[in-house]
Amino acid sequence: MNRRLSLFNVTSLVIGFAFLYLPILLLVIYSFNASRLVTVWGGFSTHWYGALFRNEALLEAAWVTLRIALLSATLATVLGTLAALALTRYGRFPGRTLFTGMVYAPMVMPEVITGLSLLLFFVAVDLDRGFWTITLAHTTLTMCFVTVVVQSRLMTFDRSLEEAAMDLGAPPLRTFFSVTLPLIAPSIVAGFLLAFTLSMDDLVIASFNAGPGATTLPIKIYSQVRLGLSPEVNAASAILIGIVTLGVIGATLLSKRSVLRSRRTAH
């Protein structure tokens, strides 16, 4: 294979990355714009970050988003890990295929449909839309991602480690907490970070299930943009991008580490 970078490779790489990241880069650059006008560069300034932190409505939305993300990611991690355990550990139980399909469905389902069906459900059970409905909706959305990450770790897990723990006198629950959990922890944390970032930047499902009491940051930004671009929104988006990037990088590093570790012990 030709490992050298040809002109064609470099060009396609540059165009590809530019296509993906130029708009985002532009947004981050313009968040440091001194001008009131979003599209005209008026010199470097952190003015809008300052203004952002004095904007009560935006801050409130950010705080709600953070709480929803933390709570829904935690719920999704617990449920997703349990689902992964059930799928890998209990062999062939009746309805296993159906269960597998159902766990993964939210991944491929159009978000509009997930959002709409959840809205209909919440209306049917007469649950007031707001903080809790968004949290539940996000848990449904992100649980399957946790399941995928944790399941891939469990597939390579050497069962004789658990047998060894039991053989040495540890009952099943203690075996789980002293052997299984520490070994799959990196993948659980990776799943959590994925769920967290997905919840942070979700607009569609949140807007279906948001109520007057709770507005998340993406909803807030979207509605402000419709009223006219404000540089404050650029600043808020830049911070959001920062958080999401950190989350994704963290998740990638952790799952890579756990793969490496399981490979090392396999030898």
């Binding site: 060894a164 039991m166 040495l168 006198g169 002293s178």
Partner: protein, 376 residues
């Protein structure tokens, strides 16, 4: 000095482990088939057989990871039915070693002791003892990923021994080691077992390993035990053709019983000109019965000159292959019928004048008591 140790031949001895008509099925497949077996305290016992013969299933039932479909097991008189693995006074050394990768060597060894709720100083003392036993004091704080295969094997052994189990189960304990290390470790395991007066049950498919270490061997095939005996008996008096062929090398001559003369069996074999004379007094045979005669390669002699008239058990052929192994030389002799015999000769002296060469006509003989008759 090792004492003569043979509790299995004492009718009053109580077994430590008893399998009573145990059957284990996985779906339609029968892994263990109506098997009964007694293992005595202090024995080094080997379960030997080809892969898929049910030996590992038998061991896993003893550890509690599988439940018998039928039959029962007792350990020291206690019925094991319904006792979960974590309450059995049995520890296992896993084939993969199954060391906990997130714990250091000493934490691994301490794991079982912690489950018993022992005080910290006692745990530390016992861990130190175990580390000395397997000579790993210097590596106590290392992690399993930082150890060599041989070192991991020792940690696994120390961890399984730490709780002083009534029985130590070893699943292919030396399978992952290279040949030289395997040999050394065999003797080390024997020494440790002798020192601790513990009962060891080893599962292996390696007959050499079983022969070296075991007090008794159970040879298994298709979920049944074919023979339980000392290594010597298994090798010299195999009960079936399967055992004769599985344990060590063997030459099989097929033939029919002609009759008995002076307590010796006369057998007409297609590969020999004259009927063979076999001294195997315990066999009960009738005339015309098809039998297999098993002769170990080292019990056959190879000659260039034709034997004197009247000599018994002569097979003639030509040298097909010669393999020089240093301590032994292996001759493969092709008989007129096309059968190939394997004959070995110890190289007792360094130089031999005019040694037997390829393609030479030779005569192979064996004594009447060198052979075993196996009823087909």
């Amino acid at each position: 000095m090792r004492r003569a140790f043979a509790p299995w031949s004492n009718p009053d001895a109580k077994p430590l482990i008893r399998f009573d008509n145990v059957t284990k099925r996985f779906g339609d497949a029968v892994a263990v088939d109506h098997l009964s077996l007694d293992i005595f305290e202090g024995e080094f016992f080997c379960l030997l057989g080809p892969s898929g013969c049910g030996k590992t299933t038998l061991m896993r039932m003893l550890a509690g990871f599988e439940t018998p479909s039928e039959g029962g097991m007792t350990l020291g008189g206690q019925n094991l039915a319904g006792v979960p693995p974590y309450r059995r006074p049995v520890n296992m050394m896993f084939q993969s070693y199954a060391l906990f990768p997130h714990m250091s060597v000493e934490k691994n060894i301490a794991f079982g002791l912690k489950q018993d709720g022992l005080p910290k100083d006692q745990i530390a003392e016992r861990v130190g003892e175990m580390l000395r036993l397997v000579q790993l004091e210097k590596l106590a704080r290392r992690y399993p990923s930082q150890l060599s295969g041989g070192q991991r094997q020792r940690v696994a052994l120390a961890r399984a021994l730490a709780k002083k189990p009534k029985v130590l189960l070893l699943d292919e304990p030396l399978g992952a080691l290279d040949k030289k290390l395997r040999e050394e470790t065999q003797f080390e395991l024997m020494d440790i077992q002798h020192e601790l007066h513990m009962t060891f049950v080893v599962v292996t498919h390696d007959q050499e390993e079983a022969m070296t270490m075991a007090d008794r061997i159970a040879v298994m095939d298709h979920g049944r035990i074919v023979q339980v005996a000392t290594p010597g008996e298994i090798y010299e008096q195999p009960k079936t053709r399967f055992i004769a062929e599985f344990v060590g090398d063997v030459n099989i001559l097929e033939g029919h019983v002609q009759g008995r003369e002076n307590g010796l069996w006369r057998v007409k074999a297609s590969s020999a000109e004259h009927p063979l004379t076999i001294d195997d007094p315990d066999e009960v045979l009738h005339s015309g019965q098809a039998v297999a005669i098993a002769v170990r390669p080292e019990k056959m002699l190879i000659h260039r000159d034709p034997p004197e008239p009247g000599a018994v058990n002569v097979l003639s052929g030509e040298v097909w292959d010669i393999g020089y192994l240093g301590d032994w030389t292996v001759y493969r002799v092709k008989l007129a019928t096309g059968e190939i015999l394997r004959v070995t000769r110890a190289n007792a002296s360094r130089f031999v004048d005019n040694p037997i060469d390829w393609d030479e006509q030779v005569h192979v003989t064996f004594a009447p008591d060198a052979a075993v008759i196996l009823a087909e």
